[in-house]
């Protein structure tokens, strides 16, 4: 029985100007999975997410979502289809209130009709945001801003959520909390693809992982298998 695929990235190359950031990258995600992309700075992880989100158009190859080629689409069309990205560095709108940030997350028409319901869910996941809803986003702590960024990403009713370096610069206790919420989001049926520099963390939270180096996927598989790979042990655990 063929298994259905939610997202399928096939052999893409992508450039930043004349610099090639992705080389023949392929990846596939099934509905309900939680998948990590691991790699050092500059390995092309963020570019891969940006290519899926339509911010960077691949020069070669295809990206399919639910069987539809999305590589020529614009970012707003891709959000409409059900992919949302929580970008690196949180990128909340600093001079908008928390509530306004969340509302902007439901900009596409489909999500607008379910806004009240989604807002309620976000407040359930992050009760502190309800308390802070009238505050400007720039006045929040880094952790709270990350909650706004994740909440904002949920407001568009995504089927697939891309998270870029969610834990960067946050205290470990907060990171634990965010990953707990991530598991909860997944239990609600949202597929998750996350980028993380912390290898140990990735290999605990994800089911499968892709390891990237200088714009290429060098290893991929179930995390249990990857943990046993000699290369991974040497490179990331110093064993």
């Amino acid at each position: 029985m063929p298994e259905e695929t939610l997202l399928k990235v096939s052999h893409i190359d992508a450039f930043h100007g004349s610099f090639q950031a992705l080389w023949d990258v392929s990846l596939s995600v099934k509905p309900g999975e939680i998948i990590a992309i691991i790699g050092a700075n500059g390995s092309g992880k963020s570019t891969l997410l940006d290519a899926i989100s339509g911010l960077v158009h691949p020069a070669k190859g295809h990206i399919e979502f639910e069987g539809k080629d999305i590589s020529p689409l614009e970012p707003f069309q891709i959000v409409d289809l059900g992919i949302s990205q929580v970008p690196e560095g949180r990128r909340v709108f600093p001079d908008l209130s928390v509530l306004e940030n969340l509302i902007i997350g439901s900009y596409n028409r489909k999500a607008r009709s379910e806004r009240a319901q989604n807002l309620h869910r976000v407040y359930q996941l992050f009760p502190v945001l309800r308390i802070r809803k009238a505050q400007l986003a720039k006045t929040l702590s880094g952790g709270e801003q990350q909650m706004v960024a994740i909440g904002r990403g949920l407001m568009s009713n995504p089927k697939l959520m891309l998270l870029d370096e969610m834990s960067l610069g946050l205290a470990p206790i907060l990171v634990n909390e965010l990953y707990r919420v991530l598991r909860e989001i997944r239990e609600r049926g949202i597929t998750i693809l996350f980028v993380e520099q912390n290898v140990r963390r990735s290999l605990t939270e994800a089911e499968r992982a892709y390891i990237m180096e200088t714009g290429r996927v060098v290893l991929s598989g179930k995390v249990a298998e990857l943990r046993e790979e000699e290369k991974v042990k040497k490179a990331y655990f110093g064993a």
Binding site: F76, V79, D80, F93, P94, Y107
Partner: protein, 288 residues
Amino acid sequence: MTFLADLSMPIVMGILLGGLYAVIALGLSLIFGVVKEINIAHGDLVILGSYFGYVAMTIIGIDPILSLLIGMPLLFGIGFAIQKYLLNRAFKISMDATLIIAFGISIILQNTYQLIWTPFPRGLTTSYSLKSFSAGPIRLPLVYLLNFIVAIVVMLFLREFLRRTYLGKAIRAAAQDRKAAHLMGINTDRVYAFTFAIATALAAIAGVFLGLTFPFTPISGMPFLIIALGVVVLGGLGSIAGTFVGGIAFGLAQTLGGHFFGVAAQMLVAYTMVLVVLAVIPRGIFGR
């Protein structure tokens, strides 16, 4: 005592004149704050508003302020088209390209005005545009007061629009972080077209009140663009309140400069002040 009485005239005059400058600069400030384009054609679009008022008054015979009911939607449409079909495309090449295209639009507009309305100065002379009012010891043209009231009303409207409406929130979001706005599903091209359209509709208002206050010619857009640039720089780029304060500061510098150094030096004084402010607080009075 007489010294103070002498001074009250240029001060009141400067503040009121600043209201008109703020209305003229508002569209420029909005486009700069959101799209990050310097719309060199803004002054000429303001003058388009003036000529529209002129046509409405002389040919159709309606009051120029009333004619804004048609003039604003018309210029809104023109602005939307300019951003959608010209600037959004240029934007993808480089910011310089938008500057050059806006410059091209400016030249085309000026020459079109020459062809249609000749270089002869026109004005919007109505029953009320020549009236004056007294405030204590001084008498001032009524239009100046009108300009100032219009400035406040327009700013409040724009502020509430940006705060309360969904499009307004999207405009602010796109201004604050373009990439994040993309990721939220905002079609930024469309948001920019609406922003430019709103700015051009504001230019229609500015044009009519400018025409009620001063005579204008096909090339009047340029000096008013330069004033507007000064106002925006003074107030802080992209801030509505800043544009208002910048307008008043510019108006005051001009009238007080004229009072102390003679009319010939008034613009020199105003621009010198812009330079000094730029040197001391480069972000402007309300700049972030």
